[in-house]
């Protein structure tokens, strides 16, 4: 390839295409390199993309129709006290209640491959040049800055800025002298099984909830050896993703024999865990087994967290910048956020004709100021859970599980969430109605498998039929909500005097109020269950038959 580019994006995963698309749309000549033959060949799933990724992520995803496998309404934690006696406690407090679930979702379970393909198609449509089967093996360095990429075919491709979206191993960033190899205790190896299972049985056994299992070391039921790693099962449309993960180095510098351990864990789960054995096992067929390493504790280590994420002429995004979440083990939202930030900084830098390290430092500043990125790389519950396991302290174990994957998460998530929420609402007061429509549209797409990424599943064309009364009512409600939001946004005093100070102390308020509020909340939910169920059924019926046009943000035709 003789031509030069403005930007080269290395890696077509979740973050790469977002950065590439934004650069191309700004008129920059953008090349995206991918080492596999087809996009998504080397990715490994086991994934709920949390809702905040969609709310605060790239606009084209929020307004598009990405391929999702199943909405997720939260997590059911199985705290295994004694597997042989079947003594298991359940914490399912972190679930979106009905009638909001499953439309207003906690997140979306997805296969990475079609999702990345969908993103890449959008990037290519925006003018990005995609070069597959090409491994970036080194950077071109000259005059103390990075000036391009050397590929495995020996090509030297020049550019003004490299955006490194290569994923967690960060080989290119190491070559470029920006980062170092991580320590093995920060890496978790995820052994993943993909099972086919009929949809109606998944609906019955799982519904929309992800199941997580936690146990004691000696039971060998869910890998508990690493820092609180466990077992997770994600329900997809008509398949399950089963993942057991384990840190590469554990107590006393001991590297576990994972080859042996994973076999034992897997056999114990299938033999001893009642719901798996009775409800799941008879209906599944193994389709694929794969594994990958995830750098889940990089954010907890100060030295690793402070490693640079940029150099003159190069910006690192997503997992390559060490932004994987420590608790949800999910790097997608952070990859999207950092991709957007990096692309915008790259555009500014190229415009200013300044790709020096001092100019690009503003990228690092923005990453460090991003409330959700910082929250997601600093959660300690999963890590600290290890101590509770070692001490065999059930009270502590339950506490960490509740704080990480139960309602206790509100005691540390509220501040960052509201901080970013307010900045969005400040920019666009009616964004909340756009988000509501997104949730409805995603759910309807899920029912009809209407995704705009492959020939097999085609997005429904907007029907031109007249809207029914109930559909007009939906639009009217959205209109009323927009009017309220607009008038609220004009009350700047309300925002500065009440909302902003309140939003900064929400975590503290939650910490104090939750022990009292949570039991009441759970009792109310149980009492109202029949009414909420009926209400939920009506909403789902409405979404099923609704004209898709009412869930779109652009008004077309009326």
């Amino acid at each position: 390839m003789d031509e030069d580019f403005d930007v080269i994006v290395v890696g077509a995963g979740f973050g790469g295409p977002v950065a590439a698309k934004i650069c191309a749309e700004a008129g920059l000549k953008t090349l995206m390199l991918e080492r596999s033959q087809s996009v998504g060949d080397k990715v490994i799933s086991g994934l709920t993309i949390p809702f905040y990724g969609f709310l605060f992520g790239p606009k084209f995803i929020q307004e598009g129709n990405p391929p999702i496998e199943r909405p997720s309404d939260g997590i059911i934690n199985y705290i295994i006290k004694d597997i042989d006696k079947g003594d298991i406690e359940i914490d399912k407090s972190l679930r979106v209640p009905k009638p909001f679930s499953p439309i207003i979702a906690f997140g979306y379970n997805a296969y990475c491959k079609p999702f990345c393909e969908w993103e890449v198609n959008q990037a290519v449509d925006a003018g990005v040049i995609l070069k597959k089967s090409t491994t970036a093996i080194d950077v071109i360095k000259a005059e103390n800055r990075i000036k391009g990429i050397i590929t495995d075919k020996g090509e030297r491709i020049n550019c003004k800025i490299v955006i490194d979206a290569e994923g967690s191993k960060g080989l290119l960033a190491i070559k470029a002298g920006i980062r170092k190899k991580y320590r093995p205790e920060t890496i978790s190896l995820a052994d993943t099984y993909d099972y086919v299972m009929p949809k109606e049985i998944i609906d019955k056994v799982f519904g929309y909830s992800v199941k997580m299992c936690w146990g004691w070391d000696e039971q060998r039921i869910a890998p508990p050896l690493g820092h609180g790693n466990g077992l997770m099962v994600w329900p997809y449309r008509n398949s399950l993703h089963f993942m057991q993960d384990q840190c590469l180095r554990i107590n006393d510098n001991h590297v576990p024999n994972l080859n042996k351990l994973f076999k034992v864990y897997h056999r114990n789960i299938t033999d001893k865990l009642a719901w798996w054995k009775n409800l799941v096992e008879p209906h599944i067929k193994l389709r694929a087994r794969m594994w990958a390493g995830f750098e889940i504790y990089v954010g907890l280590d100060k030295e690793l967290r402070d490693m640079p994420n940029h150099a003159a002429g190069m910006l690192l995004i997503g997992d390559a910048a060490g932004l994987e979440s420590t608790e949800l083990c999910d790097g997608v939202p952070a990859a999207w956020f950092s991709a957007e930030i990096a692309a915008n900084i790259a555009i500014e830098a190229i415009k200013a004709n300044d790709t020096s390290i001092s100019f690009l430092r503003r990228y690092d500043k923005k990453i460090k100021q991003h409330p959700i990125i910082q929250w997601s790389i600093s959660g300690r519950n999963r890590f600290d859970l290890r101590n509770a396991q070692e001490e065999h302290d059930l009270k502590k174990l339950k506490q960490y599980i509740h704080n990480g994957w139960g309602l206790g998460a509100l005691t540390h998530f509220m501040n960052p969430f509201f901080q970013i929420l307010l900045s969005y609402v400040n920019n666009d007061p009616v964004i909340i109605t756009k988000w509501i429509k997104m949730f409805f549209r995603y759910y309807q797409n899920w029912i009809y498998e209407n995704y705009d990424y492959s020939g097999k599943r085609v997005i429904r064309t907007n029907s031109s039929k007249k809207l029914r009364k109930v559909e007009m009512k939906f639009l009217r409600y959205m209109g009323i909500l927009e009017t309220i939001l607009r008038s609220l946004s004009k009350k700047k005093k309300l925002l500065t005097i009440i909302v902003i100070p309140l939003s900064k102390s929400l975590n503290t308020i939650m910490r104090k109020a939750l022990p009292v509020v949570e039991p009441i909340y759970l009792i109310i939910l149980r009492l109202l269950n029949p009414i909420l169920n009926r209400f939920s059924r009506n909403i789902l019926k409405f979404v099923k038959y609704a004209n898709p046009i009412i869930f779109q943000n652009q008004k077309r035709g009326f």
């Binding site: 080492r35 596999s36 033959q37 087809s38 998504g40 060949d41 080397k42 990715v43 490994i44 799933s45 296969y111 990475c112 491959k113 597959k132 089967s133 090409t134 491994t135 093996i137 590929t151 495995d152 075919k153 191993k169 080989l171 190899k181 991580y182 320590r183 093995p184 890496i187 190896l189 052994d191 993909d194 398949s239 590469l248 180095r249 590297v255 576990p256 024999n257 994972l258 080859n259 994973f262 193994l286 389709r287 694929a288 087994r289 794969m290 594994w291 990958a292 390493g293």
Partner: protein
């Protein structure tokens, strides 16, 4: 050019990767960490030193590279378009 394996269903390997994992024999102290973490069984011990047996089943997880404290393992990506691939990730 594409190989499937019975032990690892649903995944394929495209040949022509090149030697993307190498062991520096002088640095290897025979701790067996790489043998223990490799789920694909890519390594074997020969005269108390680790050796790459075969990269045919390698899923490129880089665990061997992470656990090698002696920096004896040299890990790079396979050549473009080769190596591990799957449709269910």
């Amino acid at each position: 050019m594409v190989k499937n394996l019975k032990n690892f269903p649903g995944v394929e390997w495209v040949k022509g990767t090149g030697d993307f994992i190498k062991i520096d024999e002088k640095k290897c102290i025979g701790c067996m960490n790489c043998v223990k973490v490799c789920l694909a069984g890519c390594f074997e011990m020969v005269e108390k030193k680790a050796r790459v047996k075969s990269l045919e089943n390698c899923m490129e997880c880089a665990s061997c590279w992470y656990v090698c404290e002696e920096e004896a393992i040299i890990f790079t990506w396979p050549l473009g378009g080769t190596g591990y691939r799957n449709d269910w990730g």
